[in-house]
């Protein structure tokens, strides 16, 4: 048998120096993120949840209500927003499996940890910017509504009652009481608003990690909702001693502390301080993404 070699000269290609790396992968991920409708849709829906619920929560205040923590009240939408934002985090990778795009992606960038890192950095950057923009907008809107409605804070309410009773409020207690509306200069307010944004962004990345492990959109979204909504219900159903010990580790409870200007929650005993809680949340996310990376490298695409 004679080998049939058609061309006298082999095909020559000229390659640029270096190789496909993180920068190229990130450029591709950026284009991918903004070229599907689901990104804009989920971001708009998240914005509606965060800002819309804030308007509802502050706009429906009646004169008899006493506002305990006006900052937190303007940020309550984040709890709904995280569910929608989590969907986007999941979709960033699960949509690739659902549509088969993952094969094109991994053919173009075969080093899989590079692909996942690019996704985390691009989506993470978008998540932080969007989340912070949303929490600051919600805060500004909420406080504007509260002050327009002359909302009564605990400070005024307690002062009035103390006057009726003819007692003096101790300084350390007075410091804990809030006005009807907050401004960024007051203690703990800036931290709560920034913290709420970071909480939202990190939960989006946690969802991305779950999506990487589970691959199926519906399954990963269920897992995410399970962690955020169902897990607290299960923990609450446990015997009190156990549930008290576990409650502070739950993402939702960490969130509650982070949104509060006082940095202590009213519901969870022995909660972590806002930044310790946040570090724990980042830890969960890093572990989830790490498992995701391992699974991505190990399994067939």
């Amino acid at each position: 048998m004679t080998a049939v070699l058609g061309a006298a000269t082999p095909f020559a290609i000229e390659l640029p120096p270096g190789r496909v790396g993180l920068r190229r992968a990130m450029a591709a991920e950026w284009t991918k993120l903004w070229s599907v409708r689901s990104t804009t849709l989920t971001l708009v829906a998240t914005a509606m949840a965060v800002v819309g619920l804030c308007a509802l929560g502050t706009g429906t205040v009646s004169p008899s209500d006493i506002i305990d923590d006006p900052t937190r009240r303007s940020l309550i939408g984040v709890f709904l927003g995280q569910l929608i934002f989590g969907v986007l985090g999941v979709l960033v990778i699960s949509a690739e499996y659902g549509t088969g795009t993952i094969r094109a992606t991994l053919s173009a960038v075969p080093r899989r940890p590079v692909v996942l890192t690019a996704k985390v950095l691009v989506f993470g950057a978008v998540a932080v910017v969007v989340s912070e923009a949303l929490t600051f907008s919600a805060f500004a809107l909420g406080q504007a509504i509260l002050s327009a409605k002359h909302a009564v804070g605990t400070k005024a309410a307690v002062a009035q009652r103390a006057q009726q009773l003819g007692v003096k409020i101790p300084h350390n207690i007075a410091a804990l009481l809030s006005n009807g509306s907050a401004s960024l200069g007051q203690p703990g307010v800036l931290r709560a608003v920034v913290g709420a944004g970071l909480y939202l962004a990190v939960l989006g990345l946690l969802a991305l990690g779950l999506g990487t492990i589970i691959r199926h959109t519906a399954g990963a979204i269920s897992a995410f909702v399970g962690v955020v909504l169902v897990l607290p219900l299960i923990v609450e159903a446990l015997p009190t001693s156990l549930s008290n010990a576990m409650a502070r580790y739950l993402p939702a409870n960490i969130g509650l502390v982070m949104f509060s200007t006082r940095g202590v929650p009213d519901r969870v005993a022995s909660a972590f301080s806002p930044w310790t809680g946040f570090a724990l949340l980042v830890g969960y996310t890093v572990v989830t993404l790490g498992i995701g990376c391992w699974v991505l490298v190990r399994r067939d695409a």
């Binding site: 290609i13 284009t31 991918k32 070229s35 094109a104 053919s107």
Partner: protein, 300 residues
């Protein structure tokens, strides 16, 4: 070029690819032929580093796929038509791929033109027909102007004009000195497109040969014989070293003897022959070759 060595892949208990070794050389179109489910796609995916082999290895241009510095500029592949997000336009899909491998934006329009999709470049891929999807997949493979091309069943869903276009494309790419590896389950298509063949069945290598040799080797082998004295004639054929396969239509297929040899034999033992046709069908040769190696078949 592509080199597979003792490549194996298992899915649970099913052995999809079983100790496969072959070379795909530059400058020719190499056909990858096998029945459906014979392991062609799995092999292609292992070449592209998407599936990892259970054992053995495969290299492209001398290295494992994931070590290529600029994968899309070195290897292009059409794996499955639908590896594209239906919500993206054809142009954006190609643009994301181009970005990852530092390929100029102008090249996107070039390949869209090459595959004839310029007029629908801005349309959402979800609205594409199967044939348009195939064309877009081929455009993606050509995007980096690579020296090695893999096409998995490229003519699926294409109309006759499209099929001819793919055939011409493969040949001209090989003519430029590129390595072209094309899979198909259709022997006739491969005979027209490929110079060289890698034939597999049930994940095992059945033949690695030039198309010319494959055709020459198979076409003289089968003779369709119709006779009222089937029993006597088949005994005689078997004694003379041939093999007999009864055909459902009442005739029999003789291999190992030529038509004239069968005729002489019939005269010698004195039986009548109603039909004596040399069969040169490549499909038959292929079917025969892979007969034991068909994974799925309809009930008969």
């Amino acid at each position: 070029m592509i080199e597979a060595r003792c490549l194996s892949k298992r899915f649970g208990n099913v052995v999809a690819v079983d100790g496969l070794s072959f070379d795909v050389l530059p400058g020719t179109v190499t056909g990858f032929l096998g029945p459906n489910g014979s392991g062609k796609s799995t092999t292609m995916r292992m070449i592209m580093g998407l599936d990892s082999p259970a054992s053995g290895s495969v290299t492209v241009l001398g290295q494992p796929y994931h070590e290529l510095p600029w994968p899309m500029r070195e290897v292009g592949a059409l794996l499955e038509a639908r590896s594209i997000h239906p919500g993206r336009s054809a142009r954006t899909h190609l643009l994301t791929l181009a970005r990852s491998n530092a390929i100029a934006r102008s090249r996107v329009d070039e390949v869209l033109d090459l595959v004839g999709l310029t007029s629908v470049a801005g349309k959402r891929v979800g609205k594409f027909s199967l044939g348009m999807g195939q064309r877009l997949g081929i455009a993606a493979a050509m995007l980096g102007d690579p020296g090695v091309l893999l096409f998995d069943e490229p003519v699926n869903g294409l109309d006759p004009e499209g099929i001819r276009w793919v055939r011409t494309l493969c040949k001209s790419l090989a003519g430029e000195g590129r390595t072209v590896f094309v899979s198909s389950h259709l022997m006739a298509e491969m005979a027209l497109t490929a110079d060289h063949l890698v034939v597999i069945g049930k994940g095992k290598l059945i033949a690695e040969t030039s198309v010319a040799d494959f055709v020459a080797g198979s076409s003289r082998q089968s003779v369709k014989v119709r006779t009222p004295a089937q029993h006597e004639l088949s005994d005689a054929v078997i004694n003379a070293g041939g093999t007999v396969m009864p055909d459902p239509d009442g005739s029999m297929n003789v291999t190992g003897l030529s038509a004239s040899e069968v005729g002489d034999l019939a005269a010698l033992i004195g039986v009548a022959v109603h039909e004596l046709t040399p069969v040169a069908s490549l499909e038959d040769a292929f079917m025969e070759l892979t007969d034991d190696a068909v994974e799925f078949r309809g009930g008969s």
